[in-house]
Amino acid sequence: MKTVGFRSVVLYILLAVFLGGLGYLVVNLFFHGRQWAMQPYNGHLSAQMGDIKDRNGNVLATSQDGERFYSDDETVRRALLHTIGDTAGYIGTGVQSVMGDKLTGYNLITGLNRTPFTSLSSKLELTVDQAACAAAYNAMAGRSGAAILYDYETGDILCKVSAPTFDPAFVPEDIETNDAYKGAYVDNTLSSSFTPGSIFKVVTAAAAMDLWPDSWSTRTYECWGSEEIGGSNITCLHGESHGNQDMFAALGNSCNIYFAKLAGDMGGEALQRKAEEMGFNVNLDFHGVTVAKSSLDLSAANANELGWAAVGQYTVLTNPYHMMVLMGAVAKGGTYTQPRLTERGDFFSGVGTPGRLMGPETAQQLKSLLRSDVENYYGDWMFPQGMNVCAKTGTGEVGEGKAPNCWMVGFCDSAQYPYAFAVVVEEGEGGIETAGSLVSAMLQALA
């Protein structure tokens, strides 16, 4: 029996496998339990979540008897859908998904149980202003797009709207099949990139400032509305000829030929380098949410394509969140404040590492360019008084017979209204008409 007794040690192999597997499971649970629990299909979640309010104390979402309720105002519900998230959890970048564990009071010990401790801590106050969001949503007039605005001093995001959207209180039944809701689960401010058009000229200008720090402002090119560069024509909008201009005039006129020639002179490499310094081809991180990157790849571009890239066509893409922080950087001397959605020390809050996107001289020079744009070309009358807006519009041609992406990016050079913004509306009429009025509506609501 001695031998049989000895051989029974083989059972310890099994035991070791068992303990190993169990240890693996428990360790995994420890590290990933949060993600595992925060799944959209988890029925425990919606019933447990605490209240979400905006910066003025308006209730944006609350739970009652195991059900999730949103703002009483339908426009607010639609405008803030992507910021807050839907009940089913399909919008992965919303606060209810990203901060689900805080809202539910989740922890590894009590799980999703509602205890006296968790109900105290599961409330959330966002930095958004529901009126500004509603105004932005209304100004989009049913078009797709994104509008995002933040306080470049504190980082508070005041307005963040994405469309297409839907009413989370009455989720449309045909949401999966109706083309009108295509992309409704995507937050365009964070997770999409669009053809920028002329707003990219800001980057091209910055590259020129870097390359010719002393002569960039005196450099002039002639524009006759259309010119062959690298075997194909580069044209200005509506074939308008702008004559001989310096950079201030060219940016104000949004002259394509000026910037195409400028890029041709400085070469693709300089433009690429400057763009990457300014945050292109980089995945920015918004407190755990990976932001879609703005992209520029000139490695295979010929002279003509370089010319088009310099004015934000070719394969260039920009992301609204990135454009907003870029404007925030211009406003703040080259370094932007990390945006946040909550004031207290949570995931969406906090002072992250400030991002340096350019030097202070470049920021100062860009600021004067952008200010001149509004002052001399768009007109201050568009915006509330005293906001001192600096901005650039853009119309990104997307082809396929579609109307262009209409952009406006900029900021208010004002201590009272330290706002940086980026808006884009798909298939709009024009930069100033569509995007400009959207910015105007946002700023009105915040004035």
Partner: protein, 638 residues
Amino acid sequence: MDMLTDFIQSGVLPTALLLVRAFVPVLALYVVWRSYTSFKKGQRRRDPVVMLCDEASGIRFPVLYWENSIGRSKSCDICLPDATVSRDHAVLMRREEGWVVCDTGSQSGTAVNGRGIEGQKLLSIGDTVTMGDVTLTLRNADSPPEKRRRVFKGFSHEAASPVKLMVAASLVLLLMALQGCLVDGAFVPTQAVPTLLVMVMGWGLYIYSIGIQHRVSFEIETIAYLLSGIGITVLAAFDIDGVKTQLAAMAIGVLLFCFMIWFMNDLDRVAKFRVYIGAGAILLFALNMVIGTEQHGAKNWIQLGPLSIQPSELIKIAFVFVGTSTLDRLQTKKNITEFLLFTGICMGFLVLMHDLGTAVIFFACFLIIAFMRSGSVRTIVLILSGAAIGVLLILQFLPYIADRFAGWGHVWEHINDNLGFQQTRVLTYMASGGLFGMGLGDGYLAGSGVFAADSDLVFGLLCEEQGLALALVVVLAIALFIFYARSDVTRSRSTFFSIGACAVAGMLLFQTCLNVFGATDVLPLTGVTLPFISSGGSSMMSVWGLMAFLKASDERTYAARRASKGSARTAARPASRTGEFPPPRPRGEAQDTGYTPRRQGSGGRRYSPPAGRHSRPARPQPPPPRQRDDMEDINSWK
């Protein structure tokens, strides 16, 4: 009553229930741990009862086990380093009637009192056994018990009384049943009925075992009772009607348990029936193939009127019966061809029935038995490579099986298709439950109708509703069966029980691994039950039946019964001077009462085996003969 309603509807209830759920695993852990330590405490000390003396050389061989191999080989329990002795010469066994010796195919044969033997021969104290040139005399042991040293003695030096552990286990179940009654803020006392019925069965078994059979230990039954109760209470909260089957199965299982313990008392009876059990198992499989019905892709059900049975679950018991063996047979028939053939047939049927999870369990059990019988790593490697080829062939011809495992390790990429749907739900709800669970009946795994939530995924259900802590206690209790089996392995009455208990403990733990790790994506999902917890009547019956092997492996199970019978005869018997444990009295002991161990002369050589662990210097003065009744021996365990 109004106060009760008020309390239930007040906001305090959820927190109060959470505290109850936090307390339950602590109490359950106490029961599980104390059952094991009490089991260990109650075991006999490892002292020899008789010894074999080589009168020629004066060497003494203590006889430590119920079955002892004798031979030249160093692996023998009694090693005789003499060229005339065969490697595995004979086996000395303690049986109901006394000590018996039997030759295990030796070259020179074995003789008792000078006369050659065939088959088993009963020995009396003073008889001589001749093997080759060596002649040994059977003597009573003379050395007094020596204190055993153990590093860790548990948290208490005393064994807990069985009734105390049963009360604690019942309290666990009552606290769980209380939660069941308070689901959804209403008081529904009927929810407690299944749990109460489990308690009736558990205490019924207790009264039968301790009160009628006078057994001294009840630890294994306590654990089985606790786990069954936890399982049934959780299932009752999910489906109060469906739990009837589970209760009936448990009742049958308990009866099966009692029957099997009786059946295995007589090893001759077991040997006689073994062929029939094996043939019956194969017949049952064949019957299953012919009249079986298919459910969820596996044709492993037999429909009997309103009852549906999974024969493969019951065949697990038969499998262990066929596989395990007494030491004399092990030494005589060294190959495992017969058992290998039987395993091959069983596996073949299971593969044909598409019941792969069970096939893997059978195979694991086979490996354990094969290794414990042969001890040959080479055989195991051969078998494993054979199995690997088999698996490759199966995958070649049945490629859809491989598809079932395609989601393994990537379940989060398959949240909404059948490759990962079940596993992701288990992980999500398991994490939701935290350590103490969301509350009985408040789970979404069962509530949202995930397929097999109460069987294959029951670990997730348990975690979600009662918390990870209790789920870990449950699987720990199953894992501890390994230690129960291990600590009995050289103490049991025969290698038949040792191997059987180890096979069962290993099989249950392996099954637990497949269930728990399959549901949580540590392993591919195979769809086997979690012993005691999963919904499934056949499984419940079978697991209680398997418990009988663990119980039978504990020598006290049968000793007590004999003692109660024997106590009536004690008066007629002269004083015994055996150790603490009452063995079957060697026949003819009476005539040997005058025997006093020979004092070791100064010139006497003491036997010292190479390992040096069996020899123990004989004290000059043996303890004075004491009048001792068998019941006293029993009491000394308590």
